[in-house]
């Protein structure tokens, strides 16, 4: 029995009549529509049947009369989508956080953006929208418009919401870190409950880097939305674009030429290389090992130069398009890539030796911020965080996309679950990525690199999964048969991982906070993309070229 049939059988056996529709949407993708209220049964059936069941995300879609909730679960070998529909006038649904604690943030997201009330959720609070956002305004509902909302920005939040709440009980003291956080150069806020030097609890607050990309993508045609989606994150932009393109391609039944899938793989791995080298530098910086920061950022520069030569841009690669890639790889660039990357592989081996033996690095990372495998699975963490805790979870291996099905590689996993293991996973992945790029350049098939695709995309929905540098990235795309997407939902890896920070940091010292947070490799601009903020300013101005030139040269 195939994995798809096994998952379908597990659900239909438990639900019987209540499973209204069961179909295999694509290879390794199942879609099950269950009657309202039966989704918990379906999910617990999957949890019992498959040991490694994790939740990818919850997508809410406004269908007009109803709100549809899609629970995307990864069951070891298949992605199961459990659908349930709620009436929009009374969108109440039972929570699944008691059986699947990893769903807590996704439920909060659906609550604030679509107004779905999850009964029994332990803390149904704001996640990404500003504290001053008025009640009863749900920006992802289709009938919501900034004009009818009558919002005015900026609004002031009351101090209670910022973290002054909560009485200081006994010796516990609340300390607010952020939004201008000293460790990471991205805005986010953490409310730490400290007992002397020891962290008792932490409550992260996201949402300071909102740009409304999900809502904004609905106003753009599919091929335009690719360029917007790419800008979700500056570091893993290729992963986002690849994921979105793959979702649209599977929607439209578009076959990507083999050369294009190899080229995608090459640029995707370059992206991973530069992300991991960046993180390594940041980690060195947080620990006080600034030489490592200088070294690894020097190496990263070489990868960025290669990216620029191959794709045309240093950071925003703009390489993927629906139906293939936008540029061919020059054989000279390919040769240069191999040469430069072999140097990076040598350096990665050196860093690994260094970090493995260096006593200072060991003291700051070994045994600190431990996340056990069972806990990691319960919280549905992804990527290097999961692999650092010994869970073999790599989309490239278990749900192969692009050319990964044909490229031999072993997934990296360490069992320790501490900060050190998470850094080691990334160091090993640097060497592995170099091997993947070398293999792909050598075996690069000939032929076209882009297929022509129509602008309209047939009606339907699809799920794209990609192993971004930080972990599993999920894009859900729904089309209504026009050239514009009806709904785009992005689940970035950091949203899945941020819950585990709470488990890691409990019992650690304050001084370890930056190092543990860096080992998570959080990317908050990926995570904050849902709300629609800049609605009222309406300000638009242009600078002429001359003016920019003048300003740049410092003349008034």
């Amino acid at each position: 029995m195939s994995a798809e049939e096994e998952a379908m059988e597990a659900i239909s056996k438990r639900l019987g009549e209540r499973a209204q529709e069961c179909r295999i949407a694509a290879p390794r993708r199942i879609c099950v529509l269950v009657r309202c209220g039966s989704h918990r049964d379906a999910i617990s059936a999957l949890l019992e049947r498959f040991e490694f069941t994790t939740i990818s995300t919850i997508t809410g879609v406004d269908l007009g009369e109803d709100i549809e909730l899609n629970y995307h679960l990864w069951c070891g070998r298949t992605e199961v989508t459990v659908k349930t529909r709620l009436p929009k006038i009374r969108p109440d649904v039972e929570t699944v956080t008691d059986i699947l604690p990893g769903a807590a943030l996704y439920e909060r997201e659906a609550f604030e953006l679509l107004g779905v009330r999850f009964l029994g959720h332990p803390g149904l609070k704001r996640l990404v929208l500003p504290d001053s956002w008025p009640e009863g305004q749900y920006p992802l509902r289709r009938d919501w418009k900034p004009e009818i909302a009558g919002l005015e920005f900026p609004q002031e939040a009351d101090s209670v919401a910022i973290g002054a709440e909560g009485e200081n009980r006994g010796s516990t003291v609340n300390v607010v870190f952020g939004p201008q956080h000293p460790a990471l150069h991205e805005p986010e806020r953490f409310l730490f409950k400290l007992d002397g030097e020891i962290v008792v609890d932490v409550e992260p607050r996201l949402g300071y880097a909102h740009r409304g990309i999900e809502k904004g993508a609905e106003k753009l045609m599919f091929f335009q939305a690719t360029h917007l989606i790419e800008r979700i994150c500056g570091i893993c932009n290729v992963a986002h674009a690849t994921c979105f393109c793959q979702a649209v391609e599977s929607l439209g039944g578009i076959e990507v030429p083999p050369r294009a899938s190899y080229l995608r793989t090459i640029v995707h791995e370059l992206n991973r290389l530069h992300s991991h080298l960046l993180l390594l530098g940041v980690a060195g910086m947080e620990i006080g090992f600034e030489t490592l920061f200088q070294y690894s950022w020097r190496d990263r520069e070489m990868v960025l130069d290669l990216t620029e030569k191959a794709t045309g841009n240093r950071i925003m690669a703009e390489y993927n398009a629906i139906g293939g890639v936008r540029r061919d790889l020059d054989p000279i660039v390919g040769e240069e890539m191999k040469k430069v990357l072999s140097g990076i592989k040598r350096r990665a081996a050196f860093y690994k030796k260094l970090l493995g033996e260096d006593p200072t690095f060991g003291l700051r990372t070994r045994g600190i911020g431990v996340l056990k495998a069972a806990e990691a699975l319960r919280l549905s963490v992804v990527g290097p965080v999961a692999r650092g805790s010994g869970i073999k979870m790599d989309v490239r291996r278990h749900d192969p996309y692009a050319a990964y099905g044909e490229i031999p590689f072993e997934e990296v996993a360490y069992g320790e679950g501490d900060s050190w293991a998470r850094f080691m996973v990334r160091l090993d992945e640097i060497a592995q990525s170099v091997d993947i790029v070398n293999y792909a350049i050598e075996k690069l098939p000939s032929g076209p690199y882009r297929a022509r695709v129509p602008r309209r995309v047939p009606e339907g929905e699809a799920l794209g999964r990609v192993e971004a540098p930080r972990g599993e990235l999920v894009h859900y795309v729904k089309s209504d048969g026009t050239a514009y997407p009806q709904r785009v939902k992005v689940r970035s890896p950091t949203l899945a991982n941020i819950m585990s920070f709470r488990e890691m940091i409990r019992g650690c010292y304050v001084a370890d906070i930056p190092a543990v947070l860096a080992s998570l490799d959080p990317c908050f601009s990926c995570t904050d993309r849902m709300a629609f903020l800049d609605v009222k300013s309406g300000m638009k101005w242009f600078w002429s070229l001359e003016e920019i030139k003048r300003r740049r040269l410092g003349k008034p």
Binding site: L220, F223, D305, E308, N313, E318, R326, W543, L545
Partner: protein
């Protein structure tokens, strides 16, 4: 750090001493741009026939049609442009072409620079 061999370190230090500095004084020195880099688009008014596809396709809304001597022509706002080259790719008459022209200092002699090989690096 005794384990890092001294000769290797010395080689790196000495070789770095005699290398050119890695940073460039950007506005005063011309940037070295790789050949395939996406820079400012070049507009060929001879090929242009006014279909108006580029302002509709531009994801950033950076292209506007303005009247130049009685004809509608595209004006690309470089400050809004994201250099995705959708306009270059989708232009049916190839009236917009690519160049690796970056920064504003190298604006003079743009087309010559676009075809020149990048020096050293």
């Amino acid at each position: 750090m005794g384990r890092v061999r001294l000769p290797r370190m010395a080689v790196e230090v000495v070789s770095s001493l005699f290398k050119k500095s890695s940073t460039r004084k950007y506005p005063f020195e011309k940037p070295i741009v790789p050949l395939g880099s996406r820079g400012m688009q070049v507009f060929h008014s001879v090929m242009w026939h006014g279909c108006g596809l580029c302002p509709r396709d531009c994801p950033a809304g950076a292209i506007e049609m303005v009247e130049v001597s009685g004809k509608k022509m595209p004006l690309i706002r470089i400050d809004s442009c994201i250099f995705c080259y959708v306009c270059v790719e989708n232009c049916p008459r190839k009236a917009l072409t690519e160049s690796n022209l970056a920064g504003h200092r190298g604006q003079r002699g743009a087309r010559h620079q676009a075809r020149r090989e990048p020096s050293e690096r």
